[in-house]
Symmetry: C2
């Protein structure tokens, strides 16, 4: 495993279960300008690069009505991440944290989530702003973003706030 995606000093792992419980289909690919992890923005609001989401033909009819949404939630698969790390030390923080208190791609199910601004849909290709993942990342899902249930402006991540 490349060092980029390995287990670092101060990190704690657990034994993975002997088998998985459910299967995922990759339903498309995300195209971004970033070919290596070190080039990716640290979070999705750091870049205003226009990225594209290419949905496979099989699912294309499912895009109906989506163009009326200003923002979408994209779920994608961080396929190069270790899955057995429960305590980790993100390089840019340098402090050990629990996996579920972080948005790190290293987690038991490496499903990443980004809220992206939807610019347009042409055929089965979405143009969006607000992604931070590697080029060719496998797509898992596209959902409409509902401010009524998904937006919590007052939410606080205490450990992150205290860091400032």
């Amino acid at each position: 495993m490349a060092k980029d995606f390995g287990v670092w000093e101060g990190e704690v792992t657990t034994e993975l279960p002997g088998q998985t419980d459910a299967g995922l289909y990759f339903i498309g690919r995300i195209r971004t300008p970033w070919k290596e992890r070190k080039d990716c923005p640290k979070n999705a609001r750091e870049s205003d690069a226009v990225c594209t989401v290419e949905l496979d033909e099989r699912w294309a009819a499912g895009l109906q009505d989506l163009a009326s949404c200003s923002h979408v939630i994209l779920l994608y698969w961080m396929d190069r991440s270790p899955r057995n790390i429960v305590l980790q030390v993100p390089a840019h923080y340098g402090v050990q944290r629990g996996t579920f208190a972080l948005r790190s791609p290293a987690r038991p199910n490496p499903i990443a989530l980004s809220v992206a601004k939807l610019l347009r849909i042409e055929g089965r290709v979405l143009s969006v702003v607000g992604l931070d993942c590697l080029d060719e990342t496998p797509l898992l899902d596209i959902k409409p973003y509902f401010a009524s249930t998904d937006s919590v402006p007052e939410a606080v991540v205490g450990w992150h706030q205290r860091r400032d």
Copy 2:
């Protein structure tokens, strides 16, 4: 398949791929008051019931630092949903829509997402408000909710707005 979770008139299906591309671990269970789909709230803000998220012992160390978060994103697996529907007719709207324009559990990868208020963590059990899923739903992930990247109060779902 129970009628609750089947394919309805006006719905359009696609052929599923011959195999899945990645595997998921169920990392815990969500406990809610709702035993049947008809009892579930229509969306996660409709109920203020306190639900619990029971993480398996294997992953428990990963909860470190999470208690400092006011809100969490929960990903869970809607294991009774058909995965081949691309155009569907939600009962409470009665209009055909594309799967990716809906938050319906019927989708190629039935991963549901809820933003929940975190009340407390005791051992490996989280108490939260803001879920709408069936009791015993398999848990896939817990993430901290960052208002800076996850909250978009001005987001619009056009088809839903016009419905009013």
